[in-house]
Structures are given as C-alpha cells and as structure tokens.
Symmetry: D2
Subunit: 139 residues, 4 copies
C-alpha cells in the first residue's frame, strides 16, 4: 500500500522542480492537502485584492499536492487536465490558504475540490473550485 | 452607442492599475480580444512547459479585455466570477497568445470563450476555457 | 430575516410549476438542500448506469432548492447561469441522491457545491459539481 | 486511418443502446458534430423555456457524437468525465440544436466545445459548454 509523502518531501520537491510556484505545502494525507501562498503586495489587483490568477495558482498547487498524497508519491509528470474556479468574495489578506479534498482517484486521474480563504478566516471562503489531475499512463 | 476602447487605451489602463498582470492587448473589438504574454523562462514548470497558472493568467486577462470591448469602456471593477480551463497539450514557446470571443453580454455579466496557443501556431491550441466577468451593478 | 421554505412548500411549488423535473426535496435549510430522483429503468444508459444528463438534472434541481433555502423563498425566476459537473464512478442504483451546500449568496447569485450518490452509499460519490443560480435583479 | 461513422450509423447505434437519449445526429465529421432535440412541450420549465437539463442532455449527446467522429467508430464505453455549461439567454423554440467542435483528441480523451441554439437562429446562442469524454483504456 502506498504512503503519502510528507510535507517536507513535497516542499523539497517543489523547490527543486518548480520554485516559481511560490506555494508551500502545510498538510498532506491520502485524502486532503493544505497549502499557503504569501501574498506579494506588488501583485494585488485593483482594489487591493489578491488577483484571480494568484488564487488559481494556489488552487492548482494544492490539487497537485493532493495528487501526491492520493497516489503516494511526488510525481513531476502529473498535470492539470482541467480546473474550474468560482470567485465568491473579494480576497483581502497577507496569506492565502487553500484546502483540497479528494473526490476520487483512479488509474488515469485524481479529482479534487478546493476552498480558499485569507489569513485566519477559514469560514470566509474567497473562492472554490474543482479540478482534475491526469496521471502518467503506463507505457 | 458605445465604442470599444482601443489597444493603446487598454494597455495604458492596465499599466496603471495592474502592472503585475504582464499581459499586452493586441486587438480589441466589441466581440473579440487578442492578447499576448511573454514567457519568463524562470517560470516554466517541470518539462519546460508554460505553467497552467500562467495560461490561466492570460486567459483571465484576455476575458477582461473582451469585457472592455463589449461594454465600451475600461472598467476596473469588472471582476471574474468564474472561469474553467482545459489543458489540451504541452505549451512550449516564447510567447503565449490568447483570443477571447464574446458569447453574450447582458447588464450583469459578459461571458466569453478563450483559446490559447504558442508562438506562430494558432492551429495548435494548448488550452481552452470559458468564463464570466461580473459587471458592477447600478447602485 | 428570511426563513427557509419547508420541504412540503418546495415540493408543492415544483409540482405546480415544473412537474417534469421529477425530483423531490428531502431537506432544506439556509445552507444546504437534499434531494432524490427515482431512477426510471428505461432511462439507463449503456452498461445499466444512471445517465450523466439524469445526474445533471438532479444536481441542477438540488441547487435550485438550495437557492430557495438561501434566499428564504421559492423563486420561479431564479435560473442556472452555469454548472460544471465531474463524473467520478459508474452510477448504479434505484435512487439517486444529491446534497447541495452553500458556497456564497449575494444579491445577484447563489453559488453551491453538489455531491451525488446512489441508494444508501453517501460515501461512494458518483459525481460532483459546482454551479451558480442567478437571482432576479430588482427592476 | 480511421473514417468517421456516418449519421445513419450513429442514429441506429443510439436507437439500439440508448433510445432514451431522444437526440438525433444530423452531421458528423472527424472534427465536428451537429445534433437536434425535439422539444417536448410537457418538459418546459417555468416561463415556457427549454430547461437547463434538456440543454445539458443535448450538449452531452453531441459531444458523444463528436467523440465517435474523432475516434472513427461508435463507442458505447466512451463516457463523459466532465462537462461545464453556461446558459446565455432564455431558450424558446420547438427544436434545440447543438454543434460540437473538436478541441483535442488523445489516447485517453476527447475534448470539445459546444454551442446550442433554437430553431433557425444559430447566431442567437442559448448556451455554450465544454467537456471531456474519456475513452476506454487499452487493457
């Protein structure tokens, strides 16, 4: 049976293969992942809000981590096949958090749901999404 | 009757209110917009591909420009309400292009479809999406 | 303050305005709704599965009920503006259930997440989706 | 090289394996499909409109036909993995049409975009969507 990689393993892996992601993994199990993005004040969109693309970046990253947890290994070649996101309210804060929960895993893909919030307000969701990561097929 | 803002007006506006977007408008009419993102080699994801979040960022930007074209003015407070994106093939190139086409405009929102490609290969789409921009409601 | 309509009120309303829906409301509060569709064996798709469109029909209905709960009244003119659905595993059973949970409500729309399952297997989700109902705007 | 099945072949296949679909294929090639659903007046939703689920049913069907065209055969076990739909304006008419265009085909899936309209008004789209059909994997 597979065991989920731990947080340190995930963060070392991301630092190595995709440092531009700028997202840290905080928690990971077989069925969920938690991640954080520290907001760069220069990247705020008009109104002082965390931009939609920054929210998407975090949502996409936490689904990647969820995929690692679900399949039991970090996997460079798992890639997003589709992701839909809905913006619920203005995102104001210093840190943006996202939690992904597993919907299903099969041999071709991992599907998860994501919720995002700012700072210490998990009950005040700023966006939500669902997406699919495709797994490498056996040759 | 409204007239679409021109490309220079859109790019000046973006430079002023949201320079972090790093996307340029190339064409704008009442029913379409074309935009380009110059790929930063430091931002490539594993495999040397333009990342999904960078593709989303461009898709979101070109839908914003489409909204300006459809409503006949640049509008800081038009915001994405939802966007879904599907990744079709690896994105390899120096420049990423996106074209948005208007699906509908009404008093509350603008809906558009987007296609993305790299360099001089418009027939080789790397991703496609659809999304909704919410318009400010009259007070 | 608004009070959610009760189950009987919702079902009487649906019987009157849209009997073709063939979905019953089982639970409704300000933040969730539960609904059931009795599967017609003649409507099964190849393989004996509940079809995707039947699952969509139930997902759309339970989001409508969620909207009634969130806004505190049955509202004929609330309409789906967008809905995305992901199919997780084959749907086999006599009864299809769906639960919708509120993501946000504002003056223009209600956003919710939906999970579907068959018979007595709520832990074995067959599909999941997210969608937006547009509310009638004040004149 | 594969050749797309023709319209008669598709309609005979659907009549046999899934008659409840009630959708006819009108055109099919390797990169597009056209289909029609004859609206049942008893199925109209409040306001006299073609319901969202009926529109989804047609969108899902035409993407199935597109899949047959793209892979060069009717395939019972190709199934929708995800579909998102946006409703653009009220759908009023006797016949609902949908056209699907191929976005990409690879060995695991077919992705397409869909547009729907009523009667003889192809320029007046009532909804639009994008979706993915999963192909059976080689054993």
């Amino acid at each position: 049976m597979s065991v989920s990689p731990n947080v340190e393993e995930v963060n070392r892996f991301v630092d190595k293969v995709f440092p531009a992601m700028r997202v840290s993994c905080l928690e990971i199990t077989e069925i969920h992942a938690l991640a954080v993005l520290t907001v760069d004040p220069d990247e705020l969109r008009p109104g002082g809000f965390v931009s939609g693309p920054d929210q998407f970046r975090l949502a996409d990253a936490v689904l990647w981590f969820l995929t690692f947890g679900a399949i039991g290994r970090v996997e460079e070649m798992s890639v997003t096949s589709e992701l839909s996101i809905r913006f619920l309210r203005p995102a104001i804060g210093q840190k943006l958090y996202a939690r992904a929960d597993l919907e299903v895993q099969n041999r071709r893909s991992v599907v998860g749901s994501v919720h995002l919030w700012c700072d210490d307000k998990p009950g005040r969701r700023v966006s939500t999404g669902q997406g699919t990561y495709a797994l490498p097929l056996p040759k």
